[in-house]
């Protein structure tokens, strides 16, 4: 059967743990990947905190799901866009983000970074090019 592939962007705007949005996005993202769609994720506003490194949830008694982002490459999800302005507004830099990589099947499984820090203007263009945009 010929299955149509569409581009799906999941837009993450909320910090993890305070609400269930971040965890639910991951569930939905993995579903779309299972249907072999072209999936990308955008982290803007407080969403940048979802991939902050060093998350330690022992003190709040919740599951730390941040490691799941590192598994996205195994589902061919290799485009994680982080908005530079959102980082700066929060006093954060690219160094505050988890290293997330994927193995490129077209380049002898070379390990490459999935995270791309881009400007708001650049992200706006990428958003406009999507078939489907889902916000969380």
């Amino acid at each position: 059967m010929d299955m149509t592939t569409k581009t799906f962007m999941y837009v993450n705007r909320k910090a993890p743990y305070g609400t269930v949005y971040a965890l639910e996005t991951l569930e939905v993202v993995l579903i779309a990947a299972a249907f072999e769609q072209d999936v990308s994720l955008a982290f803007i506003d407080d969403g940048v905190y979802q991939i902050a490194k060093g998350q330690d949830t022992k003190g709040i008694g919740m599951k730390n799901f941040s490691a799941t982002f590192k598994a996205l490459g195994d589902y061919d999800i290799t485009k994680l866009y982080v908005e530079r302005e959102s980082l700066a507004e929060r006093g954060l830099t690219e160094d505050d983000l988890m290293p997330i990589t994927y193995e490129d099947a077209d380049d002898d499984w070379a390990e490459k970074p999935s995270v791309q820090v881009i400007s708001r203007a650049e992200l706006a263009v990428i958003m406009s090019e999507q078939d489907v945009t889902l916000s969380f």
Binding site: P16, Y17, G18, G54, Q55, D56, G59, R90, G91
Partner: protein
């Protein structure tokens, strides 16, 4: 009659903290919890407003909520006090009233 103001929403997503700062009086305490904890991180676009408030008010952040979001103690705005859950209880006891900004 000192009041403890509790803010659990990020200042970058909602205006709860700004509204709180506009209504808190001298001698009051402000505690940032849950997603609100990210407001305590230094170098952000809200930091100057929090620093200004600290001239006559005390600002606290719940440490476990900060840690869950990957932020360590050295990232917090100077002068903001990091408390644990026991410290949260102490704040509610030390103040005459509490107000939650949702």
């Amino acid at each position: 009659m000192a009041m403890l103001h509790i803010v659990n929403k990020s200042p970058f997503e909602r205006n709860a903290l700004r509204s709180c700062l506009g209504h808190a009086l001298a001698g009051d305490s402000i505690l940032l919890i849950e997603d609100g904890a990210v407001g305590a991180v230094a170098g952000s676009s809200i930091a100057a407003e929090l620093k200004a408030a600290m001239a006559d008010k005390s600002v606290y952040v719940l440490g476990p909520d900060l840690a869950a979001r990957g932020m360590k103690a050295d990232r917090v705005i100077e002068g903001v006090n990091i408390v644990d859950y026991a410290g949260f209880v102490d704040l509610t006891a030390e103040n005459d009233k509490t107000q939650s900004w949702l």
